[in-house]
Amino acid sequence: MIELLPERQSQVLRTSSGAPATALPCGKASLAGSVSQRACVFCGSRVVLYPICDALHIVHGPIGCAAYTWDIRGALSSGPQLHRNSFSTDLQELDVIFGGEKKLESALLELIAHYQPKAAFIYSTCIVGLIGDDVSAVCKRVGAKTGIPVLPVHSEGFKGTKKDGYRAACEAVYKLVGTGDTTGISPHSINILGEFNLAGETWILRDYYKRMGIEVVACVTGDSRVADIRRCHGAKLNLVQCSGSMTHLAKMLERDHGIPFKRVSYFGIEDMSAALYEAAKFFGDDPTIMLRAQQLVREEIAAIYPELQRYKQKLIGKRAAIYVGGAFKAFSLIRILRLLGMETAVVGSQTGDTEDYRQLQEISNPGTIIVDDSNPLELAKFCLEKDVDLFIGGVKERPIAYKLGIGFCDHNHERKEPLAGFVGMLNFAREVYASVASPVWQFAPRRANRRKEVRPA
């Protein structure tokens, strides 16, 4: 029997029909000993900036933080592969005692001379926050010597949550914005913020916008170059996909450069189409953009629809649990599952905010469990209670599902199949189908013992 810790109970709720949405107390530090699925501030910064492929990324601290983030994202580059390395000052005991500034400075000078990056990001880890290294001063000196932007990222692990890491990343990358030449940028131009080119997703999206006649100035940070980011203030509209990580950057661009932003999602037919129409509407001065968008959507849907229908027939009535990093992705996933005839019975996130959870309650069926900052025991409890057939999450959730004989789809940043765009919808449907329909589950003890109950429709 799994019981919730009393301190955790307020972060779990169950929707009931007709009841108004309630405010979930989220955004808190994780409860000690609760085995949160969250990582730390450093993790937030590192994942967001990681795909900038012609920059040097160096982790200032002992080896762990760099080792665990070596080439872990599926963020692809069409050019330089520098981002896929793991550079660390690998601080040793003496460095901790006497300070790591000198080591950092030599490390930077050597790496910049050798790899010729267009900028360098220096991630501070827990230790650096304690031993008092003046990382900003080192960055300034090295920047002056090398002539490239050398940017500190204030990502000490204990100084907040992963969300604070996103913010620190936005602050660091924003120092590049506004330093490039914007001549020649089309009046119909956008930036895509919070899209990381996992498995080449940015390329799919860029192709869509190109077909509509819209120029993508920069994708921050998927397959991005320092030069793109420098001139991204020349775009006319920002589309923010991973809103949890990049809304802060969008707000700064709005404040200083007057660029409006809109939240979009590229997952699922409905949200993907809406994202394209959103940009087309914004550039209403050229009505052909909307016409092209409509044609694109028609063509793309027609290409995937028959296969989707085939999967839907096999998936109707199946139940799913969703646990993701940012809550915004969960909205899309609920809609995608509905399109496939499936019901979401459990939905949660590591870093959702009050508004996210309010909206989740509104779009969820009555009886859905909604949870903030959950942990393995709770997730297992909810999966068992709702007897789900599928779990959508990241690598840390996978074994929870598998051990209980539940299908699993990875929708996290390590994925190697593109899930964005129309083609991504099809890939995802295939994966859901493969996860649920595989014959292996018949041998999983819990599934084999499962009562052949008649499920409510």
Binding site: I63, G64, C65, A67, C126, L130, F158, L384, K403
Partner: protein
């Protein structure tokens, strides 16, 4: 072999930074050890990220749940100390997981602010005595001191020192195998049982980190070294410890020798024929029985296969990397079969690496490069000059091997680009057989695929 001179060696050693580390941080090793103890939950005293990163990394290899609790430091704890967080965390873990033991390891954050773990335990008992339902073992694992192997050995030592009890000497032996695979641990148990020995194998994550699918939810997967067996380490008649580079170090075995006068037998990881022979020989002495026929046959089949395949491997050049003791074992075996290790590299810095290598592998050519404190960028830079025929080590050598289009034989940890890392067998004659077959077949595959004729017989 063609050696490369010092001048030709790239000047990568001049990099101050570590580029693509060939090591992991100390708490990872400790967490794995604690999950090899029955009913024990690992607990990291530090930031939330440490436990999450380590969980993710271990899951990617073992494909099993591993719940690691955290005291989840925030800014105030970093300034005023993490005592409150530790207490709250420990109590929550006890309430939620009902563990038999908490294995508390520090992180660089806790170590830097000078957390006094024994003091924290006293405070916890004083304040919440009635709610403290499980013992806590603590180990100091600052990640700026050593690698995951140091964390691993330190955790084994801490368990033995804090839970081992003296008593009248029994006939049992302690076996501290080091960081080996789940399949290796299962083999070791089989061997010890076949010799009729009572034993404590510590750690034993053969079931916890390579278990079955559940019929019912398990808060902590079953299996692991029982606490009673750890207590009994203090009354064993002998300790066996794998790892030639540990000779000078303070380990579980050396601690039991000092405290309880239990003889310590330090062997290399039993990889290949001679190192396995030494292990079976020792078990024979300790048990008073000769090596069971089953293992004699395994050895016989292994030798027979080495003869069958010797032409395919002779003077092939291998780059060997990973934890120091693993590299020592692998190099020893490779030399036995006629393969030339051209580079033996590790991210560890025991200062005994080369010495241990030369002892275990007397046939290792003098020109073989032996590198401590090395990283994968350095390996990748040296590799083209060394013209290897294959790499042998963890998944992390993949990109360097791919660059040269030579095969990588995946062994050790982590293997996260293939399935079954936890089931790779390295030890004993059976493990040597598995590694041998894989090495030969990797080379045959190259031969077949690169041939224009497309030989169907090789």
């Amino acid at each position: 072999m063609n050696a490369i001179s010092q001048e030709e060696e790239p000047r990568s050693k001049n990099f101050t930074s570590t580029r693509n580390a060939c090591k992991l941080c100390t708490p990872l090793g400790a967490c794995l050890v604690f999950r090899g103890v029955e009913g024990c939950i690992p607990f990291l005293h530090g930031s939330q990220g440490c436990s999450t990163y380590i969980r993710r990394y271990l899951i990617s290899h073992f494909r099993e749940p591993i719940d690691i609790a955290s005291s989840n430091f925030h800014e105030e704890s970093a300034i005023f100390g993490g005592s409150d967080n530790f207490q709250q965390g420990a109590l929550n873990v006890m309430r939620q997981y009902e563990p038999q033991l908490i294995g508390a390891a520090t992180t660089c954050l806790a170590e830097t602010i000078g957390e006094d773990m024994p003091r924290l335990l006293l405070d916890l008992r004083e304040k919440y005595g009635d709610r403290v339902t499980a013992p806590i073992v603590t180990v100091s694992t600052a990640s700026y001191r050593g690698t995951h192997m140091d964390g691993f050995h330190a955790a084994v030592k801490a368990l033995v020192e804090q839970l081992g009890r003296p008593g009248e000497t029994t006939g049992a032996v302690n076996l501290f195998p080091g960081m080996v695979s789940a399949a290796d641990l299962r083999l070791l148990k089989e061997i010890l049982a076949d010799f009729g020995l009572n034993y404590t194998l510590l750690p034993d994550y053969s079931e916890t980190m390579d278990g079955e699918t559940w019929s019912q939810y398990q808060k902590l997967q079953s299996g692991g070294t029982p606490l009673k067996a750890i207590a009994a380490t203090g009354s064993a008649k002998a300790s066996i410890e794998f790892g030639r580079t540990l000779a000078a170090g303070q380990t579980a075995g050396s601690s039991l020798l000092e405290k309880f006068n239990i003889p310590r037998h330090l062997l290399g990881l039993p990889i290949g024929i001679r190192e396995s022979d030494a292990f079976f020989q020792l078990l024979s002495e300790l048990s008073g029985r000769s090596t069971p026929v089953k293992y004699q046959r395994e050895r016989g089949r292994l030798v027979d296969s080495l003869i069958d395949g010797h032409k395919y491997v002779f003077e092939k050049r291998a780059i060997v990397y990973g934890e120091e003791d693993l590299v020592v074992g692998l190099a020893s075996f490779l030399c036995e079969i006629g393969v030339t290790p051209v580079l033996c590299a590790s991210g560890g810095r025991s200062r005994h690496f080369e010495e241990a290598l030369r002892e275990a592998a007397p046939l290792l050519p003098a020109e073989t490069l032996v590198k401590e404190g090395f990283d994968f960028a350095e390996i990748a830079e040296l590799a083209p000059l060394l013209k290897p025929d294959f790499f042998i080590g963890s998944s992390k050598g993949c990109s360097a091997a791919r660059e040269l289009t030579v095969p990588l034989v995946r062994v050790g940890f982590p293997i996260h680009d293939r399935i079954g890392g936890q089931r790779v067998l390295h030890l004993g004659y059976r493990g040597a057989q598995e590694i041998y077959d894989r090495v030969v077949n990797a080379l045959l595959e190259v031969k077949q695929e690169s041939s224009t004729v497309g030989y169907a017989y090789l």
